[in-house]
């Protein structure tokens, strides 16, 4: 059950009224989370500057219809997912996009392994249907509970589970033919 924080409604109302202080508060509070979601969905920081702007404009534009049924975080997730979905649908994703992957592993070898593993993971994700990819990334990579993924995608829990299952199966088939991807997925 999602909890609505009263401050969220107040903040949303002030943003809708054009209160610049409130808008900046919301931007500062949520910017890192929006970035993390977008990055885990796309696997690259390449188009991030444009997408972050689009995501926040979408958030501010749509806050007028926020009814407070869910936490504002879920609302923001939903806007972010919409922006990512449009981008994934409208562009061919290039395989080299995942070069900017970060790793906290200390050695160069481990870094190279992680980099290559993530590159192959997103290469495999590029082959999936956009909705399957988003459901999988939000749940398996971002760690969101299935119910929240469903809320973010305006989908039922059952449909979301099916999307995650199908994405997972497609990746397993791919990993069976790709030892680097298989090792990476086992190691993480």
């Amino acid at each position: 059950m999602l909890r609505v924080v009263p401050d969220d409604l107040d903040l949303a109302e002030r943003c809708v009224r054009g209160d610049r202080v409130a808008q900046r508060q919301l931007f500062e509070r949520e910017k890192r989370r929006v970035h993390a979601i977008l990055y885990r969905l796309l696997g690259t920081n390449g188009p991030m500057e444009d997408l972050l702007q689009e995501a926040f404009l979408e958030i501010f534009r749509s806050l007028g219809s926020y009814r407070g049924e869910a936490a504002i975080g879920t609302w923001i997730d939903r806007c972010t997912v919409r922006v990512a979905y449009r981008w994934l649908r409208s562009r061919r994703v290039f395989l080299e996009l995942a070069h900017d992957v970060a790793s906290t592993e200390p050695s160069v070898e481990r870094k190279a392994f992680a980099r290559e593993g993530v590159r192959r993971l997103y290469e495999a994700l590029n082959q999936l249907d956009a909705k399957q990819r988003i459901a999988f990334c939000l749940h398996v990579i971002d760690g969101m509970p299935v119910a929240r993924v469903a809320a973010s995608m305006d989908a039922t829990v059952v449909a979301t589970k099916v999307r995650i299952f199908r994405a997972r199966r497609a990746l397993e088939l791919r990993a069976a033919k790709d030892p680097v991807l298989e090792d990476f997925m086992e190691a993480t």
Binding site: V16, R24, Y66, A114, T188
Partner: protein, 294 residues
């Protein structure tokens, strides 16, 4: 891979990127948000409908006289603004505004939003231009703050000015002391001091060490520019590979792979063979072999 999670670390964005994102959003935002918008409702529709009539009266009382969202026109050089939320925009001429007990001299071509009051504290958000503030001693009341981009200036009682031109922010203190916060850096700026402090003029000596080259950053740059500037990327990879540091193996492999991608098969194969010769057990050895077999 039944139900386990996959770990993908999110590389942080440089502060300059965040500043551009913030600027882009808030430059485009006024036009997007202005105009009649539905105010979010936390109530079921039937309650909201019943309350609507009352709200009309409340809105007339609260919004109309105080001009909380529309920019305040400043016809005269000195205006007193009631303490609430105020949006001040100047064109060619400067203007003076009183906000609670504090006075703000707003420079020409400036825009700011001030919110709060003396009892709860005042926050001035400087969108662009400059503002000079005279803040009486707060005597235990909450401080006054100025937010200019990522920089926050907090004051107890003093006279100081803040200028903002995009992400370039400057603070000058006339009296007292203010605390400037910029990300993780917190600096106290005293009377007659400026922030940021002008960098000292570098002195060139014959014994100066050459600047340290950050191969990891160069590698990242090369990887990002492969599609837009492959020649530049190749040059960067070559430089890293030649220096022979920790990133040399990755750079040599990437150089070979990129050459193959570009259809320069002979050179690509030569580089990958060189990679395997130098680093037979390197992290990319299996990939290099696989590419050579194709």
């Amino acid at each position: 891979m039944s139900d386990e999670k996959i770990r993908v670390d999110v590389p942080s964005l440089p502060e300059s990127t965040w500043q551009r994102v913030e600027k882009g959003v808030f430059e485009r935002l006024p036009a997007e948000v202005e105009g009649p918008r539905a105010v979010p409702s936390r109530l079921p529709i039937w309650i909201a409908a019943a309350a609507a009539i009352g709200l009309v009266g409340i809105c007339a009382f609260v919004w109309w006289p105080r001009h909380t969202t529309a920019p305040i026109a400043l016809p005269s050089p000195s205006t007193t603004v009631p303490a609430s939320t105020s949006h001040v925009v100047t064109t060619d001429a400067p203007a003076s505004v009183s906000f609670g007990e504090s006075s703000l001299d707003v420079g020409p071509a400036s825009e700011l939003v001030a919110t709060g009051d003396d009892g709860r504290g005042v926050l001035v958000v400087l969108e662009r231009g400059s503002v000079k503030l005279h803040v009486p001693p707060r005597a235990g009341r909450p401080p006054l703050g100025v937010q200019a981009g990522n920089v926050r200036v907090q004051v107890i009682g003093t006279r100081f000015s803040v200028e903002r031109n995009g992400s370039d922010v400057r603070v000058h203190v006339d009296d007292g002391t203010v605390r400037v916060t910029n990300g993780a850096d917190v600096v106290d700026v005293h009377a007659s001091e400026d922030w940021p402090v002008a960098p000292p003029v570098p002195t060139v000596t014959h014994s100066a060490l050459p600047p340290k080259i950050d191969d990891e950053a160069l590698f990242e740059r090369a990887a990002r520019s492969e599609r837009t500037d492959p020649d530049g990327a190749l040059q960067l990879y070559e430089g890293i590979a030649t220096r022979g540091g920790a990133w040399a193996p990755n750079a040599l492999f990437a150089e070979g792979r990129l050459e193959l991608d570009r259809g320069h098969t002979a050179n690509g194969r030569r580089l990958l063979e060189l990679y395997l010769k130098r680093y037979p057990r390197g992290a990319n050895a299996a990939d290099a072999k696989s590419l050579l077999e194709k």
